[in-house]
Amino acid sequence: MTAIAFWLRTAAGWLVGALYSLGPEAGLVLVSVLTGVGVMVAFKYTADRKALRSAKDSIQAALLGIVIFRHDTRTMFAEEWRLIRGSAQYMLAGLRPLAAVIVPMVAIFAQLELYSGFDPIPVGGTALVTVEAGGEALGELAHTTLAGNAVEVETPPLRIEREGEVCWRIRGDEPGRHRLVLNVGGRTIEKSVVVGDGDRAVRLSPHRVRSGFYGTMFGSAERPLPADAPVQAISVDYEPSLVALGPVAMHWIPATLIIATIAALVVKPFLRVEI
């Protein structure tokens, strides 16, 4: 599963990276438009049009019936029940296209999170670095050191025995992509860290994890830690980012949702898709 996640992540990273090379806002808009169009294409070729239309008709009939037969409470409740059934049918009819789009979409949106979800550490700004032992005891992490080039480790390690974690505060001194080096019992493990890099689109990797589908797919842009690594994960807590769409700044999820929906509705009549 880790390997699948890695390759999915790599493919999606290549696509999203190519589009983000035009700039962070342009990249987000392009990915969102492609998503909207892609979903419409998936609906066109995988959805059961008849089932979708039937479910939609049922929902619309129920809504109209509620208005027309509002004088009769019993009939209105029957229409309410039809509305609920129609909605359930609509969800079921949407499962097949959902199944078709879910894997690529998850991979692409995981990458969007890395590109648009966080801000790099500002020059002179600080962030926490957390190393997880992977259990309740610190184990080998009891004697751990952290160092980095162009990054200043400001604090001695704070060991939280109960959580199995060790934390440091770091400060970014120079802009760019740098490496943190963790020394655990003589073994060194690296973690990338990015310090303020202007307006250029940059992919951050808040986590580096040992294995697992979700750990590899989400929140990480680095190779998984070796299987015998003494740590479970290393994380840098970048600040969440907002995307500026014209005068409005918002999280990338609603921004993508809005743009993708508009794109989908624009192409719908041309593709003759039933949604």
Binding site: V39, I68, R74, F77, R96, V106
Partner: protein
């Protein structure tokens, strides 16, 4: 792996992914999100609405209790269902019941009542159903025929509606502009009984009752029936596409056009739609289509849709959208039938029905009602005279194709009826089925000119049995609080001989023709137009009238006498039983608009096709050349309708105009003074009767007259 298995595995996989994800990982993208969000939104809204309804329901129930208490003093039924079966003929019903072939009708007659129902003069559907609706004679509802003449232009018009050009201010505040628009007005006057019921808080569903286009506003729902137009604004214009150039002819009620062969083996054609509103020349809106033949079948490509055509089978309803401007389109629905795809390709298309999901004309009340019906029950024919009798009359389709479309429409209407029976549990449901009328028009004449009145070919017997099966299904859906009435507006007779009244008037010296054979109004004293009327050319009433008003009474009497004595030289029979003087059989504010004489034909006769549209034929008598070989423009006593009731009726003699006040009486509502019909007693429940008011003065001609 089959498609279903793949879908199941994919769905399972998707569900697994979703189930295993943590909340922060569960975001699945806007596309999939759109599906789920909208669905959940609908469910959440549905639940929210349900909660609000429960809350409001208490008040609604109390209010309803108060209102129904007020209304139900004297009410005998909670629900009244009236099923109209247009043209169902008593002699045939009685024979089939006697033969045990209509068990549901027999059961209804045994448990309740059966009467022959006196009809109107003339016994024509628009007249009879208008009397049914209003409980009045035609002088009060203003419908005397399918057609009426315009006294200023002598042009024929549809009697049910009038188009009126007007202007309307559109815009907000100072930003207003004047826009031309066309209003359609229902010409039926008086008030239908469902309007009276609505005033008293009784909800009604009125479906496909003739002369209900456009439907009036009232407390209930209505879907227009006979006389609702097609998308072209006509009463039904079929289209015929062919590769045979010699077949491109002018059809009376159809459009023929050429299918052009392309180099790649495909064919192209054009569907002609309604008039383009922005074209000064009145050019029609058009939609092109492509046809690909493949052996005996073919594929129609129309506006991005692929429709499989199988010879002799109708397609499902196909949507056709005509662009009438940048943001405006007019939508219709139609069905196609591939007639031939061998050496020549022949394609038949039903008249373009107004799309019920998005009606461009007011075919329902409220406007959203037709959308509701379409969403809840699927597409259905909206054209009043949906069964394309002209396609059969003009030889484009054969008997089998005609019958197939009749039954397709019939089954659509069954669905609509059952939906309404499920929705309206308290109030009135009125539903008219047309199939009986259309099939009898086209097939009953095949029983033979001298066949007894109860004789019928198998096509007619089949439709009677079909209606019996329908009645069985209806009865299963009714409870003890429901009164069921099953009725027809008139019966049926043969039509094998045509009487050209205008030729006869010309030969008798009442009508003059010019050198080109057209009517010379300056020398004409009387002329025929429509299915049953003769008008006098009265000075001051008609634009070129020459009969002085004081001479009119004498001329009417003279004509009535001569018409009754007319003899068909070929058969030696009298073709007209009686010519009724309208002034003697109608009263009311609109009686002046009636034809001066109403013709009651004898069995086997009807006005000729030419005379019906105001032309003058070549001979006063001829054989009917068309498959439309049965009709009902006879003396009213010859063609009574039927009336079955689920409960006993006290009266023996029942007139079609009695049904409206009788239904009102069942709800405990007094008959309005304007109604001519009687409210008959119907034994309901514990034997209490709806009181017979006995106060009406029926001006209608008696069936025994």
């Amino acid at each position: 792996m089959g498609k279903r298995s793949f879908a199941a595995v994919a769905s399972f996989g998707a569900a697994l992914l979703l189930g295993a994800a943590t909340p922060s990982h569960a975001y699945i993208g806007p596309g999939a999100g759109m599906v789920f969000l909208s669905s959940f939104l609908a469910i959440i809204l549905a639940f929210a609405m349900a909660l609000v309804l429960i809350f409001l329901g208490v008040f609604r129930w109390l209010f309803g209790l108060f209102r129904s208490q007020k209304r139900r003093e004297g009410a005998k039924a909670r629900r009244v269902v009236v099923i109209g079966m247009d043209g169902m003929s008593p002699p045939i019903v009685e024979r089939l019941m006697a033969e045990g072939r209509m068990p549901n009708f027999s059961a209804l007659a045994e448990r309740g009542a059966y009467r022959r129902l006196r009809t109107t003069c003339p016994p024509i559907s628009p007249v009879a159903w208008s009397t049914f609706a209003t409980g009045t004679n035609p002088g009060k509802h203003n419908i005397f025929d399918f057609l009426r003449r315009n006294p200023f232009s002598y042009q024929l018009e549809l009697s049910s509606t009038r188009m009126r050009e007007s202007t309307r201010d559109v815009g907000v505040g100072p930003l207003k502009f004047r826009r031309a628009c066309t209003n359609v007005e229902l010409q039926q006057k008086g008030r239908a009984f469902w309007e009276v019921l609505g005033d008293e808080g009784v909800f009604s569903a009125v479906m496909r009752v003739p002369i209900s286009y456009p439907p009036p506003k009232f407390n209930g729902v209505a879907l227009s029936g006979m006389c609702a137009p097609d998308l072209l604004g006509t009463q039904g214009t079929f289209a015929y596409y062919t590769t045979a150039e010699e077949e491109i002819a002018s059809y009376e009620s159809g459009l023929a056009s050429l299918l052009r062969r392309n180099g790649n083996g495909t064919l192209t054609g054009i569907i002609r739609g309604p008039e383009n509103p922005s074209s000064a020349e009145g050019e029609p809106l058009t939609v092109p289509f492509e046809l690909r033949t493949n052996g005996s079948s073919a594929t129609l490509m129309l506006q991005g849709e692929r429709v499989k055509l199988i010879p002799g089978e109708y397609t499902d309803w196909v949507r056709v959208s005509f662009r009438a401007g940048p943001f405006r389109s007019v939508r219709g629905i139609t069905r196609f039938m591939l007639l031939e795809s061998d050496q020549q390709v022949r394609l038949y298309q039903l008249p373009l029905n107004i799309d019920p999901a998005s009606p461009s004309m007011p075919i329902a009340h409220p406007m959203i009602f037709s959308s509701y019906l379409q969403k809840a029950n699927g597409d259905f024919a909206t054209l009043g005279l949906a069964e394309d009798t002209w396609g059969l009359n003009e030889g484009i389709i054969d008997d089998d194709a005609f019958l197939k479309q009749c039954y397709l429409f019939h089954h659509e209407r069954r669905r609509l009826l059952f939906d309404m029976l499920g929705k309206v549990r308290d109030g009135a449901v009125v539903f008219v089925f047309d199939i009986t009328d259309r099939i009898q028009h086209m097939f009953l004449g095949r029983a033979g000119a001298d066949a007894p009145p109860d004789a019928a070919p198998q096509e007619v017997e089949r439709v009677y049995e079909e209606m019996d099966a329908l009645l069985g299904e209806i009865r299963e859906r009714l409870d003890d609080d429901t009164v069921l009435l099953v009725m027809s507006d008139h019966g049926f007779g043969r039509f094998n001989r045509c009487v050209d009244l205008n030729r006869w008037l010309h030969e008798s010296g009442y009508l003059a023709v010019d050198d080109e054979g057209a009517i010379d109004w300056s020398g004409t004293r009387a002329y025929a137009m429509g299915l049953a009327g003769i008008y006098l050319n009265i000075e001051g009433r008609e634009a070129q009238g020459i009969v002085r008003p004081e001479e009119a009474a004498q001329l009417r009497a003279e004509l009535a006498g001569k018409l009754a004595e007319m003899v068909d030289p070929e058969t030696g029979k009298r073709p007209i039983e009686r010519a009724f003087e309208a002034r003697q059989v109608y009263n009311g504010p609109w009686a002046e608009g009636a034809p001066d004489l109403i013709i009651g034909y004898a069995q086997g006769y009807r006005v000729s096709w030419e005379s019906a549209v105001g032309d003058v034929g070549e001979r006063a008598f001829c054989s009917n050349p068309r498959p439309w070989a049965a009709d009902h423009c006879l003396h009213p006593a010859e063609v009574p309708g039927i009336l079955f009731c689920s409960h006993a009726i006290d009266a023996e003699d029942v007139w079609i105009g009695d049904i409206a006040p009788t239904v009102l009486g069942l709800f405990g509502i007094d008959r309005p003074a304007s109604m001519d019909g009687w409210a008959h007693s119907i034994q309901v429940g514990d034997g209490a009767d709806a009181e017979a008011d006995g106060a009406a003065q029926v001006a209608e001609v008696s069936a025994n007259d």
